[in-house]
Amino acid sequence: MGPAELLGVTTMSLTAPRRAALSEFVLRTPAVGPAVALVFAVVLFSLTTDTFLDVDNLSLVVQQSLVVGTLALGQTLVILTGGIDLANAAACVLATLLMAKLAVGGTASPVTLLAGVAVAVAVGLTTGGVVTAFRLPPFIVTLGVLTILTAASRIYAGGQSYPVTDGLLGWLGTRQYLFGQIEVTFGMGVALALYLVLWYSLTRTAWGRHVYAVGNDPEAARLSGIHVRRTLLSVYVVAGLVYGVAAWQALGRVPNADPNAFQTGNLDSITAVVLGGTSLFGGRGSVLGTLVGALIVAVLRSGLTQAGIDNLYQDVATGVLVIVAVAVDRLSRRRQR
């Protein structure tokens, strides 16, 4: 195992021969394929509908992908380690309820926000703790956590949803106009910042190299002196933090905390991760790919609606794309071996 494998595959190899540069770049940057698909979809819908290519609509598409995109960011971290997180959206929903209910009860809004994020981090810490301490498969652990959190949310909510009027909790939905034209929300800025921070951490720090190494081959990682358990635990905690931010994003988008929300958020986030070129086998992928993956889903929804196509056909399209993305991953994996 050379250093390039340990680095993960998001960074370009420094030793690649020039003639191989393009192929190498595409292979080592799994986000390229999805990015091409995204551009292709945008161009296609721009040409075939009159309403898709429009500054307001493109802004809307980004806003529609913020919550799932943020959930998918945490999901990417877990999947990079070879795990999967079925409870991410449930943690996010519980956090929204905590924030909203505390706010209704008159708690100061910075405290409610921190409490919501803290509960999501606590969930991550617990999940990661169980996964590492007992060496249990994350699929099973998070399935259990999902069940518990769903029930906890319903118990806590007492069969109600909670409209949020608090300024800080809804702040991420605040609209601004760049150059007086382009509608942006603070949520976009926060999501972008979060993506950049994690992209940097994964590709430019020792922690990031460890995450990829653990996902590639935990045994090899251990032998090369990496604290595998500590790395895994840190991933679940960071993911929890990200889900806490997703909760804030959710309240910014729709100021209403509802225990029934985002029931398919876990699968939606996995869809975005897979479309973004991250391998479900771990050790391979990038957060920027996930960003693209989340946008692809929203672009399809919006574009196909503009084209007058019903919901069920939109789901078919998304499903086809997921299988194509996995097939591409498989092909390029085989080629690597």
């Binding site: 195992m1 050379g2 390039a4 494998e5 191989a20 393009l22 192929s23 595409v26 292979l27 390229v32 394929g33 091409v36 698909a37 292709f40 979809a41 296609l44 819908f45 075939t48 009159d50 309403t51 898709f52 809307l60 919550v67 909510a157 007492g158 069969g159 109600q160 949803s161 959710a250 988008r253 729709v254 209403n256 509802d258 225990p259 029934n260 929300a261 029931q263 398919t264 929203a298 919006s302 609606t305 503009q306 084209a307 007058g308 196509i309 019903d310 919901n311 069920l312 056909y313 399209a317 086809v320 794309l321 194509v324 097939a327 591409v328 092909l331 390029s332 080629r335 690597q336 071996r337």
Partner: protein, 342 residues
């Protein structure tokens, strides 16, 4: 672990992805796009968006199919969208936004969350789009231009009155199989039923209340568990027909089917057949096709004349049973089978 293989394979991967996207988008565009051109349409076609709670529930399928048929008849184009599950407010918000962007004249929506959807509705109405709620009200009700729905309190009350009369003087020992906690419709039917049967929410004769999400399996399980501690039940409220089927299965398995009067609401064809077979005593039929047709009619009229519907329009409900009781107007299952949906 080898480093890297021959050139060009990853290029092929991208090509595969592109081809997939192309094929998918190509099919989509040719099969479903039926002659729209932007704005209100120089071709004069009225465009309507329909957003239901889900695509899977037969009630919403019936509503969607009726809306499509009526739209085709009126020469209007109808795009049908839906949430992924009952309660998917986020999905419904995105659907509304995308319909607004598409430039529809009117949106018909069955809100999954009566408050969570309000922002998206306001966004649409601010752009001059008619928004009509079907089946489920928003809170507040005047957030939409009009609501075409069953009066669910009244439907619940009819079920309650029937069950009380069918008990013929016996003291009620009631189990309630509810839907989803916090659902508007669930709450209205529940409240209406208690009013009709003449019991208060906290009355000790109400032995238990269980959420079932309107799902047959969950309802059966809930009923089995409830029977364990209250075997002397003689009246069962159910939120919908799948829940009633679940309740019947649990009662029958314990040989208690004869002692309890099960009531239900919906009027799906399967439900009417169940009543005919005596699985439960009564169902209160509602009329999703009427909601859809009235909704499309109002949307087309708005697009052509600018006239808006307003207020709550009750699309009605009818008690269907083969064992009529005094004091409750009802139709038999033969009528029910002619008028049922799904």
């Amino acid at each position: 672990m080898g480093r890297r293989g021959p050139l060009g394979r990853s290029g092929r991967g991208v090509a595969v992805l592109l081809a997939g996207a192309l094929a998918m988008a190509g099919t989509a565009c040719t099969s479903q796009r039926t002659g729209r051109t932007g704005g209100a349409g120089p071709d004069g076609r009225v465009r309507i968006g329909l957003v239901t709670k889900t695509d899977s529930n037969p009630f919403f399928v019936a509503l969607r199919e009726a809306a499509k048929a009526r739209a085709a008849q009126d020469g209007a184009e109808l795009v049908a969208l839906a949430g992924k599950f009952d309660g998917d407010n986020d999905g419904q918000v995105a659907a509304l936004e995308n319909l607004v962007q598409q430039g529809v004249n009117a949106i018909l929506v069955t809100p999954s969350n009566s408050t969570g959807i309000l922002g998206a509705i306001r966004h649409a109405r601010d752009r001059g789009i008619l928004v009509v709620a079907l089946d489920t009200e928003t809170q507040p009700k005047d957030a939409v231009d009009a609501t075409f729905a069953t009066d669910n309190v009244e439907a619940g009350r009819a079920q309650g009155r029937y069950v009380r009369a069918a008990l013929a003087g016996r003291e009620p020992r009631l189990l309630m199989l509810d839907g989803t906690p916090g659902g508007t419709v669930d709450e209205q039917r529940h409240r209406g039923f208690l009013d009709g049967v003449g019991l208060a929410e906290e009355d000790p004769r109400v032995l238990a209340k269980e959420p079932t999400n309107g799902d047959q399996n969950k309802a059966q399980q809930a009923m089995e568990n409830l029977l364990q501690r209250a075997g002397d039940v003689n009246a069962v409220y159910t939120l919908n027909e799948p829940a009633a089927r679940g309740a019947h299965a649990a009662l029958q398995a314990r040989g208690l089917a004869a002692q309890a009067v099960i009531g239900s609401i919906d009027g799906g064809c399967q439900g009417v057949r169940d009543v005919k077979e005596g699985k439960y005593a009564v169902t209160v039929m509602q009329f999703p096709k009427k909601m859809a047709e009235e909704g499309v009619r109002a949307a087309v009229e708005f697009a052509r004349t600018g006239r808006k519907p307003s207020g709550f329009v009750n699309t009605g409900s009818t008690v269907v049973t083969d064992r009529p009781v005094p004091g409750v107007d009802s139709e038999d299952t033969a009528w029910g089978l002619r008028n049922c949906w799904g």
